[in-house]
Symmetry: C2
Subunit: 202 residues, 2 copies
């Protein structure tokens, strides 16, 4: 299987780390593909008309996207029923943490686009503020409400760790660790896992 | 259960239609909540720090988000195992169509924000073009590759119908039906369902 993308994208990295965690690291390769907000990547568009990364290409060349579907697909291929638990209560807790982490990641990527990709003069400071507020509120919630899920290795905790790694890489100025000791301990611990170290950001 | 949001959002409407299709229409109420890109909705933020609609509030007042998790949760509560099929091949086909439809919907909402919410002068035409290209490519793919899934009533076909309904409502100028006869027939047929008529856009 190939995962098309760039590890700097938190959505790509969470798929690569997932493959490692469910035991498929030797079956998944990264195929380099970059995207920019104002351009079409024609090669990628052949696999996914949405043109976002990641896209997984199966061994039979079928495309599967987006990141959330890929993560579930990898767990399914591996026969791992704990990574996104079958049990209803646990399942929706993991899936909601995954949505929370991806919501923070989307705001982080959106903030990067606003700051670094939009032309000078086409920026909208109120929107950047809104994204920063969304990131801060999401992190506070993660600090306070999610330790039962973050404690394990699952789609939610992997997404959280990759999102925090992205904030470290692109938005150091936000100092997300300040005032969030439990989340800091989670990240320090999770970043030491082989799966995270196999896909470093720098 | 309450679904917080506004039916104009395709993501909210697909959850409301899902509730109807899986047989939960009498157990789900819509609680009005509006969001704007440059403002925090403080009431909504109590339920979801990401502050996007929809958020589902369970009968025990637990928040579940985002739309994709809510759709799966509703099928789970209803005991419906066909709406997002258990079988692997069918499941990932439905989930990928759902991701495709949501990708088009995100581009549509993003285009609306770009055109109607960003202040004059803070717009970026190349980005608006990129969103239009993403919508067009997604619709072409839906026209050509997805009739096996669109033929049924499932998370993918409901998301597709709600996304097309949103394009009718907000982006009529895109004339999405032109050159896409199969998708036009799908929408005309699906829009006649009780679930869609129960949650009209206008």
């Amino acid at each position: 299987m190939k995962i098309h993308g760039d590890v700097i994208s938190p959505f790509v990295r969470m798929c690569l780390v997932t493959a490692h965690e469910v035991g498929l690291k030797d079956r998944v390769q990264l195929a380099a593909a970059a995207v920019k907000p104002g351009e079409v990547n024609a090669e990628l568009a052949k696999l996914s008309p949405i043109g976002k990364i990641p896209v997984l290409e199966t061994d039979h060349h079928h495309p599967i996207y987006d990141s959330r579907v890929i993560m579930e697909y990898l767990a399914h291929v591996a026969g791992n029923r704990a990574y996104i638990p079958d049990d209803g209560v646990k399942r929706f807790r993991v899936l909601t943490l995954l949505a929370l982490a991806q919501g923070i990641a989307e705001a982080g990527v959106g903030l990067r686009y606003e700051q670094a990709q939009r032309p000078e003069g086409a920026q909208w400071p109120a929107y950047a503020d809104r994204l920063r507020a969304r990131i801060a509120a999401g992190l506070d919630d993660m600090e306070n409400q999610w330790h039962d899920v973050l404690h394990g290795v699952n789609a939610g905790s992997v997404a959280a760790a990759c999102t925090l790694g992205y904030l470290d890489f692109r938005h150091q100025v936000l100092s997300w660790r300040t005032g969030r000791p439990k989340l800091k301990a989670f990240a320090d611990n999770f970043n030491a896992r082989d799966s995270m170290k196999a896909w470093p950001l720098a």
